[in-house]
């Protein structure tokens, strides 16, 4: 990599320092990067600048979505919400790399929370990046009886500050007009000497600051040791922020607004738990009933099975018979063009979209951090913190999607625990639908037995993993944003973006899975497995021999497994025990592949084999106890 050590101020234009940033942009195209804390309305700005043509992609090696769009001759890039630039997690790493390659930065800040937001602003200024600040939520400033002196703030920072109310579409055009006035702000004079020294070694001021602040990744890229001055630099920056706030913000009244009162009530257990119950019920109605039953009923049964499958078979059949090996793989029972397409578009797509809609609603309203706070203690018991509530909730939608989401957790240890719990004990929605049908026929006591056993298993494996895995889980430390009414267009856009990114990432694995299963079917391995499992099924699990088919089918698609039990004549106790076994049994093949991809062989093999032991162990012991001698 070529380094320009002589140029001091022109380093932002150099595209040789972009590190792992792999965004394809034409020569001479300037990168305008949107940066801000989470929940500052950044996406509204991006949507304003981007218009219709947005390229959304996963940042290489992460699930962090990056939106990119052309803006005239230039490109506008959105970054994940961050509180500061460093390398604490995936989102920060991605944001950091994009910021390091920026030509111009639009920093969106929340005018009501300047104490928090200006920290990032000053860090960007210390990086020497040309900057403009969009001072958002100016409408709420009045509601909070605050006064912000915009001109003075601009003078103190040394960059243009544009007051905006993005949600009311106010000030957006002014921000666009001010882009050409982006400039370097007033940097910390104390940093000057050190920055200059480091600059001569790494060739770019933003990277020099990162190294001084102890960013090991950036330092390693330049083959030097990272600095040890982070604490000092941070404390000084905090003092500068507080000083600026003291001059520009006037607080007339700190009494709580109605929204703040509601926010407090949500965190009060007596009121918060019923509120949680109501929200869960709402989500169940949205995802569990409207999407999983009504919409999937139309998309999977009517559209895909009614029109698509006969259509594609009609085209292929005359050329390649279903009876040939290739025909089986393409249009057979588990064919990539039949079952897999139906599964992906008819079932998975609406479900994943539904879950992401629910997640976006909880995020944009500010409820999610409060929920994470409330469940933190419970999740501590299984070695996780409150943030793990996100993958665990998503797991009830699709375990594959949830396994990918474990990337947001703080430590490898937490990722392992959450992944194991998801892969072992969380039934995905496809499976849950069939389980519900079977259990509903049996009544209360059996439902309680099923739920109780799964819950206890989950608690026990979580506790055991938490006690046996080395290391320490990260503690909960999160910002609680104000409650806000979510904007529907933003919620939809976010959900669509994530769904697209997930489908793009997961689809090849689902296809690979279908091919493997087809191969097993053609070579007769599927039948052989059923025979091998038969003694375990009848002797140990006390189930009819055909139940083994259901377990194997569960590997193809988890709901196939459970659905296989629908047509078997089982006693109520046998039904419950087979459902318990099938829930704990190996996840579907796509999920398994993502498991191997995310956790690597060393962890994936024990987790995968562990589910055999767990399912057959728990199911078998209960069968021996509850069904007795046969």
């Amino acid at each position: 990599m070529e380094k320009d050590t002589t140029a001091v101020k022109t380093t932002h234009g150099g595209h040789c320092h972009t590190g792992s940033l792999a965004l394809n942009l034409p020569e001479g195209c300037k990168k305008i990067v949107l940066v801000g804390n989470p929940n500052v309305g950044k996406s509204v700005f991006f949507n304003y600048f981007s218009g219709l043509y947005v390229d959304v992609s996963n940042y290489p090696g992460t699930t962090v979505e990056i939106s990119l769009a052309r803006y005239g001759e230039d490109a506008i890039i959105d970054t994940p919400g961050i509180y500061g630039v460093s390398s604490f997690n995936d989102e920060e790493i991605v944001a950091r790399d994009i910021i390091l390659s920026a030509d111009k930065v639009v920093n969106v800040v929340d005018a009501v929370h300047l104490e928090r937001d200006l920290f990032l602003t000053l860090q960007l200024i210390d990086m020497g990046l040309p900057l403009i600040v969009a001072l958002n939520f100016m409408d709420e400033v009045e509601e909070h009886r605050l006064k912000v002196d915009v001109d003075l703030l601009s003078d103190l920072l040394g960059v243009p500050v544009i007051p905006t109310s993005a949600i009311r579409k106010q000030g957006l055009a002014e921000v666009a007009a001010a882009l050409s006035e982006a400039r370097e702000g007033h940097q910390d004079p104390f940093l000057h000497k050190k920055l200059h020294e480091m600059l001569s070694r790494v060739g770019s001021q933003p990277e020099a600051l990162m190294v001084l602040e102890g960013d090991a990744y950036v330092a390693a890229r330049h083959g030097i040791m990272s600095g040890a001055d982070r604490d000092e630099i941070y404390v000084r920056r905090r003092e500068r922020v507080n000083d600026i706030i003291g001059h520009v913000v006037t607080d007339f009244d700190l009494t709580e607004t109605i929204r703040q009162k509601i926010g407090r009530l949500v965190l009060n257990p007596v009121v918060g738990i019923p509120i949680f119950a109501v929200i869960l019920y709402g989500l169940y109605q949205l995802v569990g009933v409207l999407i999983a039953q009504v919409i999937v009923g139309i998309t999977e049964e009517e559209i895909m099975k009614g029109y698509w499958e006969p259509f594609i078979r009609g085209i292929i059949e005359p050329v390649i018979s279903q009876k040939t090996a290739l025909g089986t793989a393409l249009i057979g029972e588990f064919g990539v063009l039949t079952m897999m397409v139906t599964y992906l578009l008819g079932l998975l797509l609406p479900l994943v979209l539904g879950f992401y809609l629910a997640l976006a609603l909880m995020e944009d309203s500010g409820y999610l951090p409060r929920l994470a706070t409330m469940v933190d203690r419970v999740l501590n018991a299984i070695g996780l913190n409150g943030r793990a509530v996100v993958p665990l909730i998503l797991g009830f939608g699709c375990v594959t999607m949830a396994t990918i989401t474990t990337r947001l957790l703080g430590t490898e240890r937490e990722k392992t625990i959450a992944t194991a719990i998801l892969q072992w004990a969380i039934p995905c929605s496809a499976q849950l639908a069939v389980i519900t049908v079977l259990l509903a026929k049996l009544g209360g006591l059996y439902i309680m037995l099923y739920a109780g056993v799964i819950f206890i298993t989950l608690a026990v494996i979580g506790t055991v993993l938490s006690r046996t895995l080395s290391g320490k889980s990260s503690p909960l430390l999160i910002d609680i944003p104000p409650l806000r009414l979510p904007r529907l267009d933003n919620v939809v856009r976010k959900a669509v973006t994530r769904t697209y990114a997930f489908m793009k990432e997961a689809t090849p694995w689902f296809f690979a899975g279908a091919l493997i299963v087809s191969a097993m079917q053609v070579t007769g391995m599927l039948g052989a497995w059923q025979e091998i499992l038969a003694p375990v099924t009848t002797g140990w699990l006390k189930l009819p021999k055909e139940a083994a088919t259901a377990f194997i089918m569960g590997f193809v698609r988890r709901d196939f497994g459970a659905a296989g039990l629908l047509h078997m004549s089982l006693t109520p106790m046998q039904t419950v025990l087979s459902l318990i076994t099938i829930t704990l049994f190996v996840p579907c093949i796509a999920s398994t592949m993502i498991l191997f991809k995310e956790r690597g062989l060393k962890q994936a093999v024990p987790i995968w084999l562990g589910s055999w032991v767990l399912a057959l162990g728990v199911g078998g012991i209960l069968a021996q106890l509850l069904i007795g001698g046969a």
Partner: protein, 82 residues
């Protein structure tokens, strides 16, 4: 006294944050050693929610145990920054 012993509504001054990463994150949120904060909520056996001006942050109970605080003399809702 440690942060986990603070009662709802009480104002305290943060004395020491042992965990390095947590300390960095606190500074970003606007709370450093020496800041005066109010205990906004407490989840039974769970996190402590602190408030400084309009900033609210939730801190896991285990982490709260490692943060030393001191009761602030100022009662009520004074105007504090810093």
């Amino acid at each position: 006294m440690c942060l986990d012993q603070v009662k709802i509504g009480e104002r305290v001054i943060i004395k020491e944050i042992l965990d390095g990463t947590a300390k960095t994150q606190f500074i970003r949120f606007g709370i450093g050693e020496g800041s005066t904060v109010t205990c906004h909520s407490k989840i039974p056996f769970g996190p402590v929610v602190l408030r400084k001006n309009r900033q609210e942050i939730a801190i896991g109970r285990e982490l709260a145990r490692t943060i030393t605080v001191e009761r602030s003399d100022h009662g009520g809702k004074g105007h504090h920054r810093g």
